[in-house]
Every structure is written in structure tokens, then in C-alpha cells.
Homo-oligomer: 450 residues x 2
């Protein structure tokens, strides 16, 4: 039995990862703005000894499609991630909090400050999911005229992360004497303004906040293009990713792990966490019935909306849902691999329109495993032990129901196999994940080494 333990995160997508989850009786209908719902979820995840909970984010709301399809979207109104996690940190003790924030649209000083605050407030349980924002149509909220090109976004992201780390290191760890007798509070020689002037950013610093319990929050990344993988290799400590087969996941795993050495990093300094959307039943049949019930809740206009990008200019509402699409276009150029997979499925397996959108909408391109706790544990173990994953980002299809199922049924099975902890090891997220506390780049040691 391996000593290595699975790392588990719970991807808390408001009402659940399934696109129609909000209609399901096991869901919470106003999840996005219901703080009690989130408190219960975080406490359930902590009961299940998850390393962390995670929220995705887009700083805006712009929908492409008909009002009919728009009116049926459950994800239009939800909390800002750091504000949410700060609240939940006060009613939990162990679990970590991964908040998504955009290097394309947020301000580096304010971002550094809110994440450092969260790390202090949670006593060392904060993480930042660094994204360049996948939504191409929210730039107008920030006075910009277009979504920058991927290369520019990632170039800026790297500079942004460096600036934020520089701000987090403003005070050396031992800068604070706080001696009431002498009246000396701190040592100004251990305070380091950044004075950064770069291609994309100009930030003076220092941050008005001392180093946080973890040194700085855990850095997570979720892009999988070339520049995305380079950013992860250079700076991330965990990477979220989406694969539906062991072979693809293995290829990705060795790809990103292989990029670390050139940044002077070791493979274990970057945890690879693919997504898994588990549909748990006491029997295989029960699990499949659950999944079918969910898929049935996808309204055709919502389903067709997810197909529209692949048939540009076409009015899909006229199509027969139970026949294959009238024609299969060439996949669009560029590196949209999802389009390739979908159109290939349509071509090869002759899926009907409904089957196609159920595939796409049901798990938003992520890996769905439908079955008993043993079956799900088998799948996870296979990826974990065969070089495809250091752990998983668990995406419960319906919340709270599917998280309860996972914690009550799958976690014990993973524990029985010795794959997962039976108690938290440390007090900070880094300690639980087995990640080092980073040294301060301005400390005496660091300056001597340089």
C-alpha cells in the first residue's frame, strides 16, 4: 500500500456541477447567494477531511444565446470568492479555501491584500487559483475594449504573480518586535517596498500587511494551453485540469511534471488534480438512474445553447433532438480541444443531438464516474497509482446532496484502502497538502544567497 496520500478538493459550484442541478430536489435552489448553504458545504467537506474547497469565478455576466436559454441558467448570481471564504473560515477549523481571481481584470495590490488577509484570517488556509479569465466578454466591466489575446494574458499573469509574491514578502518574517517596554513595534529595515515597473504593471508597495501564516497562500493554476502549463510549472503548487481518459491524464501529468526542472523545482512541488464528477449509488443501477434523472432536467434550449459554438450561425432550435445533427462541421481552428472531442463523438458514434448536448452540458467537459463507492474508488485509485493524478478536484453534480454522498460513501472506501487520511495532519493548508512554506525573497538568507 502506498504511503502517498490522495489530495482532495471539493469544487463548490453553488448548486452543483451539473448544468441543471438547481432544478434537482437534492439541490439548493438559491445556492449562489445562500450563505447557510455554503457553510453547510464547507462543514461537510471538513467532516470528510477534504484538503480544500474551491470556487470558480468570472468577474461578470455576459450570456451568448437566446433569452429563452439565458432565463434557464442557474449560475447568474453568486458571491465574490474571497469574501465568501473569509466568512466560512470563521466557522471551520481545518479545511483550506481556494479562491479564483483573475490576473487579467483584478488589481495586483488589492488582490495581494485580500488573499493575505484571508490567509491570516483563516490561520493559514488560503489558496489562490490564478486564472487569466476564460470568459471573453467581461472586459467591459473594467473599462477595457477587448479581451486580451492568450499570449498577452499569460505574459501579464506571470508578471502579476511575481508582483503579488513580492508584495506578500514586504515584511520579513521576523520584522515585528512588538516590545511594549522599549516601544519598538517593528524594524523598518525589514520592510521592503517592491518598486516594480514592468511591461504590464507598475506597483510600488510595500503591502500594509505582514507575512501570513503560510508565508503566502498556496498558488493554484487551471489553464492547460502551452502558456498555461508554463505558468503552472514556473509558479503553481497545484494544477486543476480536465481529462476524461486515463491516457490523456497520464500524458498531461508527465508533461507538466517534466516542465518543473527547468525552473529549479521538484515534481512533488506541483500537485496535479484532475476533476472528477462522481455520481454515487449504492448499486450501479441506482447511480445510473440518478444520472439519467439529472440529464433529463437539461431543458433543450439550455442543451442546444452549449452546442451553438460548434454550429455557428445555425438555428439549432429547428433540429430534431432525437436524430443526429444534420451535418458535422469542421472543428474550429485553434486549440479548442473540446470542440474536437464533441464533433468526433458526433461523427464516430452517431450521437443524437440530445445525446450530444447531454454529454457536453452534463459535466461541462469533465470526467463523470457513475457507480458504486467501490467503482468510484477503483477509478480514482487507478489514476492515482498510474501517474495520472496526485489527487482530485471532486465536482459533486448536485449540492448539497452529492457531496454528502461522497463524504458518507466514497471517503470511507478510500480510507479503507489506505489512500486517504483519517485525520488532518497539520494546521495549515500547506501542511495538509505536504507543501513547503516558502521563504521570504528579501530575507537575510535570501539576500546572502543572491
Amino acid at each position: 500500500m502506498s504511503q502517498r496520500k490522495l489530495r482532495l478538493g471539493a469544487f463548490i459550484m453553488a448548486t452543483g456541477h451539473h448544468i441543471a442541478a438547481w432544478r434537482h430536489p437534492g439541490g439548493q435552489i438559491d445556492a449562489g447567494t445562500n450563505i447557510d448553504h455554503y457553510i453547510a458545504l464547507a462543514q461537510t467537506a471538513e467532516r470528510g477531511l477534504f484538503d480544500q474547497v474551491f470556487v470558480a469565478d468570472t468577474p461578470g455576466l455576459r450570456f451568448e444565446g437566446s433569452d429563452e436559454a439565458f432565463s434557464r441558467q442557474g449560475r447568474v448570481s453568486y458571491f465574490e470568492p474571497v469574501t465568501l471564504w473569509a466568512a466560512l473560515s470563521a466557522v471551520t477549523k481545518h479545511i483550506g479555501f481556494v479562491a479564483t481571481a483573475s490576473t487579467t481584470y483584478e488589481d495586483p495590490f488589492l488582490l495581494a491584500r485580500k488573499f493575505a488577509s484571508l490567509d491570516h484570517i483563516s490561520k493559514g488556509r488560503a489558496a489562490w487559483n490564478v486564472v487569466t479569465t476564460s470568459a471573453e466578454n467581461v472586459y467591459g466591466n473594467f473599462g477595457q475594449d477587448k479581451h486580451p489575446e492568450p499570449e498577452v494574458r499569460y505574459e501579464k499573469a506571470q508578471e502579476f504573480v511575481d508582483v503579488v509574491k513580492g508584495l506578500w514578502d514586504s515584511f520579513e518574517d521576523d520584522a515585528f518586535a512588538r516590545d511594549p517596554a522599549s516601544g519598538v513595534y517593528f524594524d523598518p529595515a525589514k520592510l521592503h517596498p517592491l518598486n516594480h515597473v514592468g511591461k504590464h504593471l507598475k506597483v510600488a508597495g510595500p503591502l500594509n500587511l505582514e507575512r501570513s501564516p503560510q508565508g503566502y497562500p498556496v498558488i493554484v493554476q487551471a489553464g492547460s494551453s502551452e502558456p498555461g502549463k508554463e505558468l503552472a510549472a514556473a509558479t503553481a503548487e497545484a494544477i486543476f485540469t480536465a481529462w476524461t481518459s486515463l491516457a490523456e491524464a497520464q500524458a498531461f501529468y508527465s508533461d507538466v511534471k517534466g516542465r518543473l526542472a527547468k525552473y529549479g523545482r521538484r515534481p512533488e512541488q506541483l500537485l496535479v488534480l484532475p476533476g472528477i464528477s462522481p455520481v454515487v449509488g449504492r448499486t450501479q443501477a441506482e447511480a445510473e438512474a440518478k444520472w439519467a434523472e439529472l440529464q433529463k432536467l437539461i431543458h433543450p434550449s439550455v442543451g442546444l445553447n452549449t452546442l451553438e459554438p460548434f454550429w455557428p450561425g445555425e438555428d439549432l432550435s429547428k433540429w430534431d433532438l432525437d436524430a443526429p445533427p444534420p451535418y458535422i462541421p469542421q472543428p474550429p481552428l485553434g486549440r479548442n480541444s473540446r470542440a474536437h472531442v464533441v464533433l468526433e463523438l458526433a461523427r464516430r458514434d452517431k450521437l443524437t443531438v440530445r445525446q450530444l448536448y447531454e454529454y457536453l452540458a452534463g459535466a461541462r467537459g469533465h470526467w463523470v464516474v457513475v457507480g458504486t463507492p467501490e467503482h468510484i474508488a477503483d477509478q480514482m485509485q487507478s489514476w492515482f497509482e498510474n501517474g495520472a493524478a496526485d489527487g482530485f478536484n471532486v465536482m459533486p453534480p448536485v449540492l448539497p446532496e452529492s457531496l454528502d454522498d461522497f463524504v458518507d460513501l466514497v471517503i470511507p472506501e478510500l480510507q479503507r484502502r489506505g489512500l486517504f487520511r483519517t485525520a488532518y495532519e497539520g494546521t495549515t493548508l500547506r501542511e495538509n497538502l505536504g507543501l513547503e512554506r516558502p521563504a521570504n525573497q528579501f530575507s537575510v538568507q535570501a539576500r546572502k544567497a543572491a
Copy 2:
């Protein structure tokens, strides 16, 4: 006995309002980054039935003066306000949370989002203290080349507040059907992008967050220049201010209340809340001894640093602390009224250097009342009943000690006099403050009226 009740806020300046509070045995030495300290304070204030707690803020750290004086400052490392209040909202039930945020340096979309999130998360207990940032030297944290002039800052502040309110009104209050049977989640016709293009800001919207329990957070303002007062009259629902005599406070009170009519507002729609720094003793002598003990903790370099702006270019460290300043300069031009007061005190009362800095540093220009609970209640009652205040922003000199004193000794005295509540009236901050829930500017009624 008046029916009108005092409104009380607790100004939570980390370790206390007194500049040397961190050295005091009744203080909390690492207050700025100690979440347990803040939790205890909010719970104490709630036990005392305060309407709200308040934190001031500056987005940066730049000190003018010697390293010697800098090393003795207790306020260099502290939490971002909204993150802090979100955490405290999860462990309290009634008290409101006023967070300071800058219209000069923050982003309007992100600001609207975090405050609306806080209002949801706290179930209607959020308020925004709108400031243009008084610190003139933090612009470099935001890639800017200088602190904008007051007129520009206030012009932008007004536009900023309008934009933020527009974002908060993105969804009409009844936009959400959330009907699982039909699968309709919300009505896109009740979603209103802002598409703002103004002199200072360009913000598309809509906000990806529905209207919050209070409609929007309570708007607070704290500037007292001409444009500051106009901003308050146009948009604020409470105004913080600093006066040390009844006459000045009365003049300010009628001044700002008199400005409301031209914006179509009634006097009771803006609460005037002067600051009071209460030093409570069971006897007058005990209170005075407490204050003297605190004043003694001001290190001369810290005290002199507060005087430096009035003697520009002078090396004050060479002065005899127990003699009057060698000369009294002309007060600087412009509307810095604090300089006038200080230099006039020096001239008229022939204060020594030490007395002068104790006056200035001890309460940062705010009203200090030293005495028994009865004496403090007398003073508050006098301002409250004589057209100088609708309530107070209570600035405990040392935290937690002085807040405990106020809650245990002064609150009961105010209650005995029928001046203060004995139980919370409502569930939201607006309900407790007696402020209306604002209508949505895009609602059908509003559109009909227009």
C-alpha cells in the same frame, strides 16, 4: 424623554484609537492581524447593542519621518476591511459592518461586488464608508503618478458611487422565479446592464450578483471639506466627523442637514455621527489617571513626528520637550483646519512641545471625554439633544479594554436615560438605523415614474 434614539458605532482601530495603545497592558499587541481579537470586539459591541462596527482604511503604507519614529508605529499591518467583516459576520447576528474603501484607488466593479457579497453574506448588515483616501502617498501602489487633487477625487467619487449603485441595481428585486418545474431561473428582462461611460469611469455591467437584503449597503461618508459635504448630502446615509466642541459640531450638523433638500432628501435620511473617544473611570480621578497613563506611553519620537508637518524642514528632535516650541509658524495655507487649531493652542495656551503632541497624537484630533459613565453620558446627551449629533462613532482609546468599559459602564447609563435601545429593533443594519431600503432604479415603478 425623547423618542429618538442614539445611533452608536464602534470605531475599531485595531489596537485602539490612542496612538500608543499597543503598548498598553489593556491592549492587544498584535491586534491588526489577530482575528480572535476582532471576533471578541465585534461580539462585545453586539453585546452592547451597537448599531455597527467600523474600520478605517488606507490602501498602502508610506511613512513620512525618521525610521526611529516609524519603528514605533503600531498601525503598519492590518486586514483588508471587507475580508475582515465577512469573517466576523459569520460569528455575529445583529451588528452592522462599516468597511472603508477608496473611490480613488479601487475598481468600481470589484468594489460593488465585494460589498454586495458582504451584504448577502451578513444577511443585510453591510455599509460602505466612501473615502477618496486622505493619504497622499499611496498612489504608487496603483501605478499612478500622483495623488489626484481633492476636486478631482470628489468628482470621481460621485461618479463612482453612482456607478456602484447602478451595478447593485443590475437585477430587479423580483427578477428570480427559480421555478424547478418550468426550469425558468430568472427573467432576463429584469436584468439591466449599466453601460456607463463617464468622465472618470467606463463600466459595462451588469453585476453577477442579485440585489442584496438591504437593497444596497448603507452609504457612509467621512470627508468634511466643501466637496466632501456635498457628496454626503447627495448620497450618504451617515457621515462621520470630528469636532471637539458643541458649537462646532452644531454648525456642522445644521450645515450638512441643510444641504439635503436640494437633492430631494429629508434631514433624517443622513445621520450625523461625530467621533468621541471616551476614557471611562468609576471616578473622575480614575479616568484621568487612565488617560495620563496612556499619554505617558507616547514615545517622544512618535509625538514629535505628529508635529513635523507644522514645522516643515525643522529638526524637532533637538527641542526641549518641556518648553513651548521655540517659534510658532503661520499655519499652512489651504483648508487644513487641524493645523490652525494646533498652532492656535500653542500660541494662546503656551503649551509645551510635549503637551502639544500629547494633544495631537492622543486622539488624532478627535473629541476625548475623560470621566465617569455619567459624565460621558451627559456629554453625549448634550450633543444629541442640542442639534449636534444623531449618534456617535465611539473610538475606544485601547482595545479591547476601553470597549469593554464602554459597554459595561456607559451603555447601561445611556439606556437608563432612555437614549439608547435595550434590544435590536430589526434584522438589517438599515432597520436598526431607521433608514429606508432603497428602491431599484430600474424597477417598473421607477421606469414608469421617469
